[in-house]
Homo-oligomer: 153 residues x 2
Amino acid sequence: MSNTLPLNEAEMRAWRAVIDGSWHLQTRLDDELRAATGLSISDYHVLVLLSEAPDRRLRMGGIAGRLVFSPSRLTYQISAMEKRGLVRRQPCPDDRRGSEAVLTDAGLDALRQAAPGHLTAVRRYLVDDLDEAEAEVLTRVFTRLQAKLRETQ
Amino acid sequence: MSNTLPLNEAEMRAWRAVIDGSWHLQTRLDDELRAATGLSISDYHVLVLLSEAPDRRLRMGGIAGRLVFSPSRLTYQISAMEKRGLVRRQPCPDDRRGSEAVLTDAGLDALRQAAPGHLTAVRRYLVDDLDEAEAEVLTRVFTRLQAKLRETQ
DNA sequence: CGCTGGTCGTTCAGATTTTAAGGAAGTAGG
DNA sequence: CCTACTTCCTTAAAATCTGAACGACCAGCG
């Protein structure tokens, strides 16, 4: 139940800072990652997801759900990565409608090569400037946000 | 000068929460705004920017800079909005290379109609859950982030 | 002036994403 | 089994976005 007053000034400032800041940050990280490795931030996210998945494989729908990709976008994304040898596609064993994306060795290599630089950028732009309390607040606020987004579908 | 250690667990948690959370939030707000008003979040941002500008007009480059849009994207964006009557394009008086986008009355109406619902959504997903201290931290962190991004171009 | 080098938007081709429409399989009720 | 209904993913066409190339213009200099 949220009230419908316009945001007050502090709220507005916080809100705009978050929206603008996170957007600019995404853009910058994507640019740097592309320049350094040829991977887009989407490629990178897919690689991370698969690398952490049991047996390095996930259903299409699972990936799409986590990355908030439309099914067709995911199809395109995985196809593109498949062409470059980063992932392989396999029919899903227990559900013949579905297919799985599997991380290849080349894909894992690409991730291992990209990660340090990317994380350094994350550090440079954000993490290094956070003190412990700030990190804690960010984690709390954004985790709560995600929970709220999920619970409303 | 940032160190090159991998992120520790708390840092990683904070980082991922921010990235995922802000991305999901953007997506959700865009979806709701589209459904309610037919405006994309980009349309909305352009409208807000122009509505706050002196004389309701801005140079193309000025808009592109603030929204982190490529020049060609901005051209496309403004053209699309022009077709719908939300903005008008005018040659820039003091620099004949440039052009300005001017908010039309219809554009201002569209914004006024869209804003309350959008702000309510912002409230529902984020602002209402923030206490004062949290809002303050978010403002501080993301403002600092933007400054850092700007200073490295 | 006439040149040179830079800036401002636009345009065009190509890449990416969305939307709508299927095809193939799973699931439940009769 | 059949029939409907649903889910999973892909395809095709349309919308949007990016990057390179361009034309028009500004600014500085000889």
